[in-house]
């Protein structure tokens, strides 16, 4: 497996690689702001961070251990390549994009869980590393009942043109047209007619049968030959014709549906929004905040500080053939991605991308990480439904897509303190990490370091080691598994565990 950065270097040995150019840009802005970049993290922390971001879970202990013990100078690039090619990467990416396509901010959480078809559909494409622009095209034009995925995207938004428009514009174009739904946009130039002209592309999508009336139910999608949108409060006014952002109104033609017209515009190679929006979305996922908040067709993105950098990455992304895997590879290969955690996500270092903002784990990441401590079970198969995981995710869900915002409750804490997921990871007789570490030939210090490495990706501090080794000291072989389980429990419940640092 070739590393993205290495491949670029081969293309033109004299030019710096994209990750290097990204770092040069970030370091220059940081210097201008007088912000000192944080040092690079040690191997364990790096692998934990990388594995959570690319595979959606902490590494297996065996992998973690061999990684930190390896003295191969190329081990970080190798780990990146291995994780990007793993099936778990496709599954995790499918979860991330499902959540973006069906945001929970409005409370549509059940919709999201019901969108199993969408998750499978995305995972299949990410596993084959289908071009991103093709994924978007297929999502927007899909009709086939065999492709339940896209249909559940449309049904989750109740086939409403305004909902589909605001979600797809935000996600696929990087612009918040929503505000223009009711009034002209306060700081961008979007007019109400821009929003409704864009929404008109979705005015004719229908469900073939009434199943669609029930939210979350899925059936075959069809494109009717009539159906219009009008400005709110102007129900008797003229219909708004479909119009791409910044483009001319389109005529209805017999051989193309409106959704096809939209998808063709989105998939145009020089569409000014799509590649930039994808890059910004992936960056947001990996750093907790985007390079920009709002994309501008002419490159005057808001805010301006990182607008040129976004454009530079987006140009490479287009040149790569909209290769999402390569895009992830570039970003996690930067020095910026390797830097130590900031003391706060709102620190100037974190805002300048020269220290990592602590990002809360999604419920799925937390469950899958705890599962890695437990013995391998039948439910480990990602293609099998897992009711325990669904129940955990339902209980532990966050209310906000923002990874920097923590919106928990005491009830969610109770799930961690007394619920099954942590108990299964710490139930000694059932094997897994606890059983492995109870082996008599290990020293207590070894055990403490191993637990800390497995869960948190670091060595125990001196104080931690003293306290926890003391806790294990003098235990009989019979008592030891329980005590080890107690340490794992405490660490699984720690704040450090609940975040990616």
């Amino acid at each position: 497996m070739q590393l993205a950065s290495a491949k670029l270097a081969i293309d033109d040995a004299s030019a710096p690689s994209l990750p290097d150019r990204i770092d040069a840009y970030l370091d220059r802005v940081a210097a201008e702001r007088g912000v000192e970049p944080a040092p690079a993290v040690a191997d364990g922390r790096f692998l934990r961070r990388l594995s959570l971001d690319l595979a959606g879970a902490i590494p297996r202990y065996a992998d973690m251990r061999s990684f930190v013990e390896s003295d191969d100078a190329e081990k970080r690039p190798q780990a990146i390549a291995r994780l990007l090619a793993s099936p778990r990467h496709a599954t995790h990416l499918a979860t991330v994009w499902r959540d973006l396509l069906i945001p929970a901010e409005r409370g549509d959480f059940e919709q999201r869980l019901n969108a199993v078809g969408l998750h499978n559909w995305l995972r299949d494409r990410f596993a084959r590393n289908v071009r991103y622009d093709n994924v978007v095209y297929d999502l927007l034009v899909a009709t086939d009942a065999g492709e339940l995925g896209p249909a559940s995207y449309f049904s989750a938004h109740e086939l409403k043109p305004e909902r589909l428009a605001s979600n797809s514009a935000r996600l696929m174009l990087g612009v918040s047209l929503d505000c223009a739904q009711c009034h002209d946009h306060p700081f961008a130039d979007w007019k109400q007619t821009d929003f409704w002209g864009y929404a008109a592309f979705f005015a004719r999508v229908r469900a073939e049968d009434d199943m669609m009336m029930q939210r979350g139910a899925v059936s075959r999608l069809i494109d009717a030959d009539r159906g219009e949108v009008r400005l709110p409060g102007d129900e008797s006014g003229d219909p708004i014709p479909p119009r791409p952002l910044l483009g001319e109104a389109l005529e209805d033609v017999p051989f193309e549906t409106r959704r096809e017209q939209l998808a063709l515009w989105i998939a145009e190679r020089d569409n000014p929004f799509v590649a930039r929006a994808a890059v910004n979305a992936v960056w947001t996922r990996l750093f907790g905040r985007g390079l920009v908040e709002e994309i501008n067709a002419a490159g005057a993105h808001y805010p301006a500080a990182y607008a040129p950098l976004l454009d530079e990455i987006a140009a490479e992304f287009v040149a790569s053939g909209f290769d999402l895997r390569e895009l992830h590879g570039w970003i996690v290969s930067t020095h910026a991605y390797e830097r130590a955690a900031a003391e706060s996500a709102s620190s100037r270092q974190a805002q300048a991308f020269v220290a990592m903002a602590p990002r809360r784990l999604a419920a799925e990441q937390l469950y899958d990480s705890l599962a890695r401590l437990a013995p391998v079970s039948a439910t480990d198969d990602p293609f099998q439904g897992n009711p325990a995981r669904d129940a955990f995710v339902r209980r532990m869900r966050a209310g906000d897509a923002d990874q920097l915002a923590f919106t928990g409750s005491t009830l969610q804490s109770l799930v961690m303190l007394n619920g099954d997921a942590v108990q299964n990871a710490t139930n000694a007789p059932r094997g897994g990490l606890v059983a492995a570490l109870a082996a008599p030939f290990l020293s207590d210090t070894d055990r403490v370091n191993a637990i800390t490495l497995a869960l948190l990706g670091r060595e125990a501090t001196t104080a931690e080691n003293a306290e926890m080794s003391g806790f294990l000291q003098g235990a009989t072989d019979g008592e030891r598994p329980q005590l080890i389980a107690d340490i794992v429990w405490a660490m699984a419940n720690s704040t450090e565990m609940a975040f990616n640092h």
Binding site: P103, E105, R106, G107, D108, F109, E110, E158, K160, E162, R163, S166, D178, C179, A342, E343, S344, A345, S346, S347, P358, R360, A398, G399, D400, D402, L404, A405, F406, T407, G408, S409, T410, L411, Q412, S413, L414, M416, L417, N418, G419, D420, Q423, N427, T461, A463, E464, E467, M468, F471, Q482, D486, A490, M491, N493, S494, T495, E496, A498, F499
Partner: protein, 440 residues
Amino acid sequence: MHDHAWLSRRDLMRHSGLGLVGASLSGWFPRLANAALAEAASSRAPRRQAVLLWMAGGPTQTDTFDMKPGHANGGVFDEVATSVPGLRFSEHLPKLAEQADQLAVIRSISSKEGDHARATQLARTGQSPGGDLEYPSIACSLAGELPAPGGGLPGHVSIATPTLLPAAFGPGFLGPHRTPASVEATPPAGDGYASLRVENLDLASGVSKERFARRKRLWRSLQGEFLANRTDASLIAHDGLHRKAIELMEGSAREAFDLGGEPETIRDAYGRGRFGQGCLLARRLLQRGVPFVEVSLGGDDLGWDTHIDGFRRVQELSTELDNGWGTLMQDLRTLGLLETTTVFCIGEFGRTPSINGAGGRDHFPDAWSCVLSGGGVAGGQAYGKTSDDGTTVVDGKVGIGDVLATFAAALGVDPHTENVAGGDRPIKIAEGEPIAELLA
């Protein structure tokens, strides 16, 4: 923006940790700050509390609070006098009849939804389904407006909640941190009492108190070291919520959920079933400062949905309702809490005044009743009037929005208080107008 620079973020989280069960940042952060400031400003205002009694399935108004004696629709129960001259209820609500001076019956609700799911959504959120937002239940909205309890207790507890329609019982766009603590109720076995249990509040099997204490010690020292030099608000919020959860498991809060210490005479007075024991638990929680408690009667089997053999079942349900609610009111009065506690009883719709061929009544949203009582309510009256046959509202017609607004106002909350939904949309707690005549 409000200026609260004098509150550092850490202070704010601490403060809210004392005040709110959920902590949140980002979109909710300014609101949290305002809540903390408001709480500080109004610390001398009397504590207000609320109980929502949810009648799942749609109770029959004609056999309870809006009877039609002498009419063909009247049914088999007698209408009897209450403690308030002229105000008459069914014979099967004796404890409530004694306290009718505290009760205000609204007999003139007219709504549009006649399907259980749609009507439940409407009655509980004020919004019919199909809108473009997931609206919070009125309980979740109001619970967030009331001063929070101490001692690790949650600000909103929901007892024997139906699981059928989570959206109608949940916080919607307010966010999952506003989810009520759910108490599962199991019906009594034989002659015993219904058992009530908070999910995940008990130690996991195989974990003794001593072992948990050990785990907690380890956890505390890990937390202390990790958080020592960190200022990130999300990290601090996570730590605070875990500490509150432990306090809830171990503190006096834990004991609030244990009905075992109540004398049998008291437990029996409330009724041995899920609703009765739920009302008793509600009283214990109110005593300890929990601002909002919901208790459901009818639950997942939609008990009040009495299409067949209605009178026998309505009589049983009335007795359950009367024992639970009536005893709760008596206790609250004795404890001096009735003046500050508003109790609101409503289902998703009423039932047809006409009796069907199976001896029951069917769904009926055109003209039905609900009852407000206790704090902030001008009791001892019936508001609005239905026709002699009960089929139409002839006076004082109100919608669900007005009813929910009246509940909010009785509780001392401005029903037009706005919460901000995704996309910066201000959404009122209730869109109707409070009924002035019913407010004390």
